[in-house]
Symmetry: C2
Subunit: 130 residues, 2 copies
């Protein structure tokens, strides 16, 4: 387990909870991709920030993400994180999407700094789409 | 879908089927990681080659991997591939491991060439380990 990446993910979850979306962008590469929902990606920091604001609104500004069990597969400057993503929100019972996911995150070490390049909280469940 | 990566994955599957393990190593980065089975990783081309030879023996030299439904999330020089990995083998009914997996592969573009950095055919199912 890469402890630096674990701490970065926890700090990013805290930034989402506190709706500090400018701070949140510091955790991502310039051309990072976020899977907003199955079939919809956001790419690049401007799009990611807008997507996170919309996600916050969807959850009535009550979204609290945290990670449960986590595993990392580390290949030099590239790390695949497998993680239980546990989402809490006041209106979670209305969500169309699962609030307990098995996420896949890809981190890259760029100029000595670990950054999230791919943020896919849906993991391999995307393969279930029709 | 990145067609180049799709073709590389198909060519790697063919090399596994034909037990051309030296050729197979051309598809990987120098420090690539293969998840051999839950809890066991091989790292670097020498270890990967040995692991693939053992996997071939485990399946009585009859392993035929292929990919079903595939999705890719592409962030610049880093691509996360989500794929149904469908494994055939004469002794597949004896295998301790699922022969229909939802795999996660991470590809990196290094000096203009796409290479597999992380080969995890078990995907997020690794989180099920006790």
């Amino acid at each position: 387990m890469n402890k630096v990446i674990k701490e970065l993910i926890d700090a990013a979850d805290k930034a989402i909870k506190e709706e500090r979306f400018d701070d949140l962008m510091d955790f991502y590469t310039e051309d990072a991709v976020l899977v907003v929902k199955p079939g919809l990606e956001a790419k690049g920091k401007d799009s990611l920030k807008k997507a996170f604001i919309k996600i916050a609104e969807y959850f009535k500004n009550s979204l609290v993400p945290r990670q449960g069990k986590m595993l990392m597969i580390e290949a030099g400057d590239t790390v695949l994180v497998l993680s239980q993503a546990l989402l809490e929100a006041d209106n979670k019972s209305e969500s169309k999407y699962s609030m307990e996911r098995r996420a896949t995150y890809v981190y890259r070490n760029i100029d000595g700094k670990w950054l999230c390049a791919i943020d896919n909280s849906y993991g391999t469940a995307l393969l279930d789409q029709p």
